[in-house]
């Protein structure tokens, strides 16, 4: 079993905290860390063998969605691992979409014509928007597959085309992991946008994420946040102030840290996790420094 590499952390009890301001975003770690790919930079070291964080059962997911609705949730995200490995992804997605706009974070490699048809049908009858975030780390096949594995580029690009042909507008999500391999000053966003246009995507949507020093690519000696680091900083803008993640063994503060003991806020109900969050992990530094969010925008 491949556990996450352990970074230097502040004991949760001594870390500065972010407030809980209300539940805006529910994350569902639907497949835990079970994935058909094994990307070099994966934030939770997902892979095909013995996932260290187990997939969620449908009963837990349904209960979490009901609880989140009662709490006034604004959006739901399905992540993993690879969500399309879950046998009940489509009915669960339908339930989520009846509740709130819902996004699936996927590597795209399992989306063939049949799944794309089912997603288009779901999107058409849902009251709220269905969003699909397809991960692609580089517009060049070789650079991408070096990170994500042989064949990942072709399958993800094919999925983007299949979705586009059905009127769905996937958001291509890239980390900055190969940014330095391109000429300085060339815009990453522009490169992805132009690439997508070249694939026939008239309304390109691109989200760029920083690389987190966690999971399969742990950081060096990044110090966790201290109270001094947060002087004058509005902690309510951190995503852990209004997001919660339901995973197989509890409720967590953020999708980056789901499954880690120090980030677990509840082993029971979602409501029990509605309390301040310890900013104990070096990954919290990235959120403060970049203002990043795992949400779509």
């Amino acid at each position: 079993m491949s556990r996450l590499p352990v970074a230097t952390v502040t004991p949760a009890g001594h870390a500065p905290v972010a407030p809980f301001v209300g539940l805006a975003t529910l994350w569902v770690q639907i497949t835990g860390t079970w994935c058909n790919l094994e990307c070099r930079h994966c934030i939770n070291a997902s892979g095909p063998k013995s996932p260290w964080l187990k997939p969620l059962d449908a009963v837990t997911i349904r209960r979490a969605i009901r609880e989140a609705e009662a709490a006034g949730v604004k959006e739901i995200y399905f992540t993993g691992g690879e969500p399309f490995l879950h046998g009940e992804i489509l009915p669960l997605l339908e339930l989520a979409l009846a509740t709130a706009p819902t996004t699936v974070l996927t590597n795209g490699t399992l989306i063939g014509p049949q799944t794309a048809d089912a997603l288009a049908a779901l999107a058409a009858r849902a009251p709220y928007s269905l969003e699909l975030r397809v991960s692609l780390d580089d517009t060049e096949r070789e650079k991408n597959d070096r990170i994500r594995g042989e064949g990942a580029w072709a399958k993800a690009v094919a999925a983007v085309r299949l979705l586009r042909e059905r009127g769905l507008l996937p958001i291509v999500t890239a980390t900055e992991i190969t940014r330095d391999e391109h000429p300085a000053g060339s815009g990453m966003y522009e490169r992805f946008r132009d690439f997508l246009r070249g694939q026939g995507v008239e309304r390109p949507r691109v989200k760029i994420m920083p690389v987190f020093g966690i999971g399969r690519q742990p950081a060096g000696a990044t110090a966790p946040l201290t109270e001094d680091d947060l002087e004058g900083f509005d902690r309510a803008v951190l995503q852990c102030a209004d997001a919660r993640v339901v995973a197989a063994d509890g409720v967590y503060a953020c999708p980056i840290l789901a499954g880690l003991e120090g980030a677990r806020l509840s082993t029971g109900s979602l409501a029990e996790s509605f309390r301040p969050v310890p900013l104990y992990h070096p990954a919290c530094v990235t959120c403060r420094d970049t203002g990043m969010t795992c949400r779509n925008s």
Binding site: G72, T99, A123, Y128, K207, S297
Partner: protein
């Protein structure tokens, strides 16, 4: 429940029929057309839900119209930024292309808004409460809790609306900020209305803009009013002021060319870009 403490504290006024609009975006031509149109619709008062500046030309032409016609306004994120001398519009984009255009737009508006008008914007209330017949209405810019929260039709669940309105102790919530109008009657007879904007068209390939008339009859009636105005003159003024041609293209064609990042899939799919 407003997240910020400066809710309007005026005595709760009662109305039967009101006109409400948002997002002027420096479009004094549309504002003048709206004020003339609303006069013919027997409204008791006219309300603006904020964002006077951005996008269009000649910001200072908007304020005399608002004041002379007694428009009751609240503060949008743009007004908050301009009024407090901030360096950005507070729209919260992350897409570098959107931010590029937003920066041009904000700098132009800031530099062309007089000190007197900036102070006026800075003094606007963040919310208004009023009675619309028996209905308790709350007016906000983005959402009751955050001034720049986007409440799109396809991305605003009923559970969230119930939550926001319960906390705000309101039966009717009126907002703007997204630039696209919508109305939803909830099963418990509460209403959420995004009143749209008059500053730019609705990304539907038409040049007109929209405002909203609400009537207590005593059931709530919501009417979206299409508003034609001299958009070609506006576009020419934008060209003369050196604003990005993409902005004038939106005014002329009705298709959004910038600030597209935050659109949910369903709203984005309706547009050209």
């Amino acid at each position: 429940m407003p997240r910020h403490g400066d809710d309007v504290s005026e005595q709760l006024s009662e109305y039967r029929r009101i006109a409400v609009f948002g997002g002027v975006y420096n479009n004094a031509h549309a504002l003048a057309a709206l004020l003339a149109d609303a006069r013919g619709r027997d409204v008791d008062a006219v309300f603006c839900l904020g964002d006077m500046g951005g996008f269009g030309p000649h910001p200072d032409r908007v304020f005399p119209l608002l004041r002379e016609h007694g428009v009751l306004a609240i503060q949008g994120n743009y007004d908050e930024s301009v009024g407090s001398g901030r360096t950005d519009c507070g729209c919260g984009y992350t897409d570098p292309r959107d931010n590029h255009y937003a920066a041009i737009s904000y700098r132009y508006t800031f530099e062309h808004t007089s000190a007197e008008n900036r102070a006026w914007l800075g003094a606007l209330p963040r919310h208004r409460r009023l009675k619309l017949g028996p209905h308790r209405a709350l007016m906000c810019h983005g959402s009751p809790r955050v001034v720049n929260e986007f409440l799109w039709e396809s991305a605003t669940p009923n559970g969230l609306l119930r939550h926001l309105m319960a906390r705000a102790e309101a039966d009717v919530m009126l907002c703007t900020h997204t630039g696209m109008k919508w109305h939803r009657a909830l099963p418990d007879a509460r209403h959420a209305v995004n009143v749209g904007v008059i500053g730019r068209p609705e990304n539907d390939g038409r040049a007109n803009v929209w405002y909203t008339v609400l009537t207590s009859a005593p059931d709530l009636q919501v009417e979206f009013v299409p508003l034609a105005y001299d958009h070609e003159t506006l576009a020419r003024e934008m060209d003369r002021e050196g604003l990005p041609p993409e902005f004038a293209e939106t005014i002329r064609t009705g298709w959004w060319t910038t600030c597209l990042e935050n659109l949910p899939a369903r709203e984005r799919a309706r547009g050209k870009y």
